[in-house]
């Protein structure tokens, strides 16, 4: 395992800027999640590290070694793709053996068998080893695909939304599994997702990307509790943070134009009146859709609340975030 340093990397496709001067250090043994909507540059960052794309400017180094002149094979990275993950003409076993048999690794037969059996065990696909890759269900395919990365001992694992095509149950199972594997092996992992639960539960570091720029990089708690902008604040939290004009409230600091309120930053029972528009009982929690001075506010309340549509609830901000007109944080 090794650390990965991305230093001032930019990438342009014709006139489109895919990455704009991105710098980040992925420490050895960390689980870094890149967050952002489609087109933010998450996958491009991954492909830069893998060597499938070369940076327009800037440099990527792994374990202190510059990667510029190294092919993907020579970089010793493992990657899990979002789709088309398995070689369709091979069996599950052959898929898992494929990287081990490469001229780069050229693993002895005994070692291959041991590693494949081991990984198949972890991912619970031992009984499917001799199936054709195309004869698997979507979840099994993705597990084999993760397995193909795990059989190796690369400097860094790269995963591009590996769980996005799976159903909810399998996704949460594999989430736990992946986190365990990473924690036990001390692997360095760079992981792309737009699922904030994956980001919050697995990451040691979160990188928030916006239109090719890295806008915030820190621990999940840091990004959640101390977002640098409206954009970064909106990436995490369910229900999403409420962004309202700051002048709806008193005691607003100078320069603040917007106020950001996560559900836990809304104190209920004090302050000014709001009207309940809708009540959503989700079982473990209840979401309240409020109208506060004609602005929509979504918050969470007691699971067994008796509130109903048309009721009046008093609310006031509790340690909110303030942002300026451009969306940057104001302290």
């Amino acid at each position: 395992m090794a650390d990965v340093v991305i230093n001032g990397v930019s990438k342009f496709y014709d006139s489109v800027t895919a990455l704009d001067n991105v710098s980040m250090t992925i420490p050895d043994g960390s689980f870094v999640v890149l967050l952002g909507p489609t087109g933010a540059g998450k996958t491009t960052t991954l492909r830069m590290v893998s060597g499938l794309e070369l940076p327009g400017s800037g440099e990527v180094s792994i374990g202190g070694q510059p990667m510029r002149d190294l092919s993907p094979a020579e970089r010793n990275v493992a990657m899990v793709f979002q789709q088309y993950s398995l070689y369709p003409h091979l069996t599950v076993r052959q898929n898992l053996e494929f990287p081990l048999k490469s001229p780069q690794l050229n693993t002895p037969k005994v070692e291959i068998d041991r590693k494949v059996a081991n990984v198949a065990e972890i991912l619970q696909i031992s009984h499917k080893l001799d199936n054709k890759a195309t004869a698997l269900s979507g979840g099994e395919m993705q597990r084999v695909s993760i397995g193909r990365a795990l059989v190796r001992n690369p400097s860094v694992y790269l995963m591009d939304e590996p769980l996005s095509s799976l159903d909810a149950k399998l996704r949460s199972d594999l989430r736990v599994e992946l986190k365990n594997i990473q924690a036990n092996s001390g692997a360095t992992l760079l992981y792309v997702t737009h699922d904030q639960i994956e980001a919050m539960t697995m990451a040691t570091h979160i990188g928030v990307l916006d239109k090719g720029r890295l806008v915030q990089y820190g621990s999940p708690r840091e990004v959640y509790e101390n977002p640098v902008s409206v954009y970064a604040a909106s990436r995490l939290g369910q229900p999403r943070i409420n962004i309202l004009p700051a002048d709806l409230f008193s005691d607003v600091p100078k320069g603040a134009k917007l106020i950001g309120l996560r559900p836990e930053q809304i104190k209920q029972g004090e302050g000014e009146n709001s009207h309940v528009q809708r009540v959503e009982h989700l079982g473990d929690q209840t979401r309240l859709h409020l109208s506060y001075k004609n602005h929509d506010v979504i918050t969470v309340t007691d699971a067994h609340t008796n509130l109903k549509e048309g009721d009046v609830v008093k609310v006031r901000p509790n340690k909110p975030f303030y942002f300026d007109a451009a969306g940057a944080r104001v302290s």
């Binding site: 993907p72 094979a73 088309y84």
Partner: protein, 312 residues
């Protein structure tokens, strides 16, 4: 039996089935006639009204593979009792075998030129199709159209320039010349067909192989080629059928060494006219390799022709 709006009714199926059978009979009839003629005696072959029931004879096949000399009855008697079955057949015609015919060589030429050009065409075609499919090539669309345009001219329009060119290069009547020519003609078809097949193989597989520790060429060989096998097989069939059956170039550019079977078969002459059973026997044997090749690859061919629809 499931009923759905897309399921044809039994009457429709019956009608479709009969149409297919009718079509099969119409297409197979000439083939049956040729095969039957090969087993007729020369007089049965030209009998009018045509004979459907006849005594089978191997005379056509024997005549196809032999050169014969007519001899007087005394000489025939002096030659003694024929020892081999084919000697006997020739003796009954009042002749003796004087040597092998050139059909074997011509057939072998067809095999070398047909399969050789198909192989070359597949190697070059796959490489070119892969490049067109994967790399950013300047003027890609124009180049592809240019390649296709070589197919638009009828062979006869270019045959004289090609003849002159081949004479200058010393390629006239050589195996290499014919292989190159058929490859050139088939290459446009194979590049276009194969590009379609390779386009359908997601590039992610190759990227995965690159990261798994393979070079670009190894990725192509281990990941792209096996998945393109269907496309390559069906394209190979089309190329082989063209090269195997080609007549115009062959009759113009070959005469001796490299002559293929198609221009040779019509020149088979018998006693007092065309030896139709021998011609038919030659045509029958000529049909076999392409038929075997197609049957061997028919699984790929079916999947290949409907490509895009079946593959996910």
């Amino acid at each position: 039996m499931s009923y759905s709006v897309t399921e044809p009714s039994s009457r429709t199926k019956w009608f479709a089935g009969s149409m297919v059978i009718l079509y099969a009979i119409i297409t197979l009839l000439p083939l049956v006639w040729i095969i039957a003629t090969g087993f007729k005696s020369p007089s049965d072959a030209i009998a009018y009204p045509p004979k459907v029931v006849f005594t089978p004879s191997l005379e056509g096949y024997v005549n196809l593979f032999t050169e014969r000399t007519r001899v007087t009855p005394q000489m025939l008697e002096e030659a003694g009792e024929p020892t081999k079955w084919y000697d006997k057949i020739v003796h009954e015609q009042g002749a003796v075998i004087s040597g092998k015919s050139r059909y074997g060589e011509r057939f072998f030429n067809s095999v070398i030129i047909g399969f050789g050009s198909t192989l070359l065409c597949m190697i070059l075609g796959t490489a070119a199709a892969y490049a067109f499919s994967r790399f950013r090539i300047p003027l890609k669309d124009d180049l592809l159209f240019f390649i296709l345009s070589t197919r638009m001219m009828p062979p006869i329009a270019v045959s004289i320039p090609i003849f002159l060119m081949f004479r200058q290069l010393g390629l006239n009547d050589t195996h290499l010349g014919m292989i190159l020519l058929y490859t050139a003609v088939n290459l446009s078809l194979s590049v276009w067909l194969l590009k379609g097949f390779i386009d359908e193989i997601p590039i992610e597989y190759e990227e995965a192989a690159l990261i798994d520790g393979y070079t670009r060429f190894q990725a192509f060989y281990k990941v792209v080629l096996p998945q393109a096998a269907t496309g390559i097989a069906s394209t190979a069939i089309f190329c082989l059928i063209f090269a195997w059956n080609e007549y115009a170039f062959a009759v113009l550019l070959t005469s001796g060494t490299a002559q293929t079977a198609p221009p040779f078969i019509p020149t088979i002459i018998g006693v007092g006219g065309k030896d139709w059973p021998a011609v038919a026997a030659g045509a029958t044997i000529f049909l076999v390799p392409v038929m075997v090749f197609t049957i061997l690859l028919r699984k790929h061919l079916l999947r290949g022709i409907t490509f895009g629809a079946v593959r996910k």
